[in-house]
């Protein structure tokens, strides 16, 4: 079904000159061609370091709402020498990027991304065995973290895939973030005991839309 439909759509698209979508380098195929993607197919792959989500974290993500909302699912890794035990982190990020600036023909800047993440760490040494403590002995979770993030991005808009018109993009991003425990420490010291800058973490990453 699909193999027949695609050439038909390509032919149909050939006649009319579709308007260039805002974040695509060149003429793309009409929406119908792209909607051939199965719903579960991620729109991008991501690779990052830092941000409390791994020395290396890799994963995939989806974009919604004209690419202004996105969610990434990452699996991160920290070697034993940096954390005392080898850690595997599963993370979920939600991001909103309201603005996009076309600074050059093939370069787009997303000056602001705000979002939040949630992460679960596997492999910590002492993470509350059953019966080790009475309930609420520690009010916080050892392995579950969440926090805000804010960042920005530069995107190179490559030519779309010739056969399908899929837009291709390569983005470099940074994110400043924190986590619930650092923020709690800040909030309980309102007389300057901690500076806001001491709570921050940095993530650097690359994202490829395909």
């Amino acid at each position: 079904m699909k193999t027949h439909l695609l050439p038909a759509l390509l032919l149909a698209a050939g006649g009319s000159h579709a308007a260039t979508p805002p974040d695509t380098a060149a003429t793309a195929l009409p929406r119908a061609a792209r909607s051939e993607r199965p719903w579960y197919r991620p729109t991008h792959l991501a690779l990052q370091t830092g941000g409390g989500l791994g020395m290396v974290a890799a994963g995939a993500g989806y974009q919604f709402s004209k690419n202004r909302l996105e969610t990434d699912i990452l699996i991160g890794y920290v070697p034993r020498r940096y954390a005392g035990s080898a850690l595997t982190l599963a993370s979920l990020k939600f991001m909103y990027s309201p603005f996009r600036l076309r600074v050059a023909e093939k370069v787009q800047v997303l000056p602001l991304t705000v979002g939040a993440y949630f992460s679960y760490t596997h492999g910590t040494l002492n993470d509350e065995l059953k019966g080790q403590y009475s309930s609420d002995y520690y009010w916080f979770s050892t392995d579950t973290r969440y926090g805000p993030l804010v960042g920005g991005r530069v995107t190179y808009l490559a030519a779309p895939v010739a056969a399908t018109g899929q837009p291709r993009k390569l983005s470099f991003y940074y994110e400043l973030g924190s986590n619930d425990l650092y923020l709690a420490s800040y909030l309980t010291n309102r007389n300057g005991g901690l500076r806001f800058g001491q709570l921050l973490t940095l993530a650097l990453g690359v994202k490829a839309d395909f």
Binding site: G52, V78, A83, T124, N126, S185, G193
Partner: protein, 276 residues
């Protein structure tokens, strides 16, 4: 001329770029359990003991030190404590009786050190239960050092050890009695001794199977002035086992009190509670 000013321009830019790079590396945290810190924040126990050794107490002199505990998440109070302790005359060092951190994270231990390194005297720590959460044990070892250690200052031997039994699910490893017993019997040339740990043996978080052997070992320890703990967040000086052994418990930083402890003679001591 032009190239010279260009060079000057770069001279300004390069350090700035280097600074941003350094700060960036510092911020590039792999996990909250990531314990990478600049070298100046590692091996603090060893470094502080070296500072202490550089200002020796003449034999026979009265020893005075500040005793406190549970700095966990009390950064505002830490600043006030440092300002107050720096006014105390004749103090040799300060002891934090565990729970340096609240979540066992390296960043917290570093934040506490950033406060306490402004003390005019060196400070030493012993590990607390909160410092053992998650990968805290590894972070503590990297930033502070050994979990069980001893040193002699003046005429007094100090033995500091991990008594946070619950963090090891009461597996019989903390306190490490095999390590402690020879420490207590050999004073390394000192005249008297002091034992410091976080969880007191009277507490439910002390390994119940090791309570009796620990208390007995202290009872038998020659020249023991007292045993000191934190954990309770409350000042007390008691003899809970009516065996002549004194147990001293510190305030937490949040109580805004610390103790000035003076020790002299064979086992004489005086403790003054100071508000800050």
């Amino acid at each position: 001329m032009l190239s010279l000013s260009a060079l000057r321009g770069w001279g300004r830019v390069v350090p700035l770029v280097a600074l941003v790079g350094l700060v960036g590396c510092d911020l590039l945290e792999f996990s909250p359990n990531d314990h990478r810190v600049p070298e100046e924040f590692t091996n603090l126990t060893e470094k502080n003991l070296a500072k202490l050794a550089a200002r020796p107490l003449p034999a026979g002199d009265t020893l005075r030190f500040v005793f406190t505990g549970d700095s966990q998440q009390f950064y505002d109070e830490a600043e006030a404590l440092v300002a107050s302790v720096n006014q105390q005359p004749g103090v040799a060092f300060l002891v934090v009786a565990g729970d340096i951190s609240d979540f066992g994270l390296a960043r917290e231990m570093r934040w506490v050190d950033e406060k306490l390194r402004r003390l005019s005297v060196p400070y030493v720590t012993v590990i607390g239960n909160h410092d053992l959460v998650g990968n805290g044990r590894e972070a503590y070892q990297h930033i502070y050092g050994a979990l069980d250690y001893s040193f002699v200052y003046g005429d007094t031997k100090f033995t500091l050890l991990d008594t946070n039994g619950r963090e090891y699910s009461f597996d019989g490893s903390a306190p490490n009695m095999g390590w402690l017993k020879p420490q207590l019997t050999n004073l390394d040339g000192a005249r008297r001794q002091v034992v410091i740990s976080h969880v007191p043996p009277t507490n439910d978080d002390f390994d119940p199977a090791l309570r009796a052997p620990y208390v007995q070992a202290l009872r038998d320890a020659p020249g023991l002035v007292f045993e000191m703990n934190g954990h309770n967040h409350g000042y007390s000086i008691t003899q809970p086992y009516n065996d002549g052994v004194t147990y001293v418990n510190s305030d937490a930083f949040s109580q805004r009190h610390y103790m000035v402890v003076t020790v002299w003679g064979n086992r004489q001591f005086r403790i003054k509670r100071v508000k800050f």
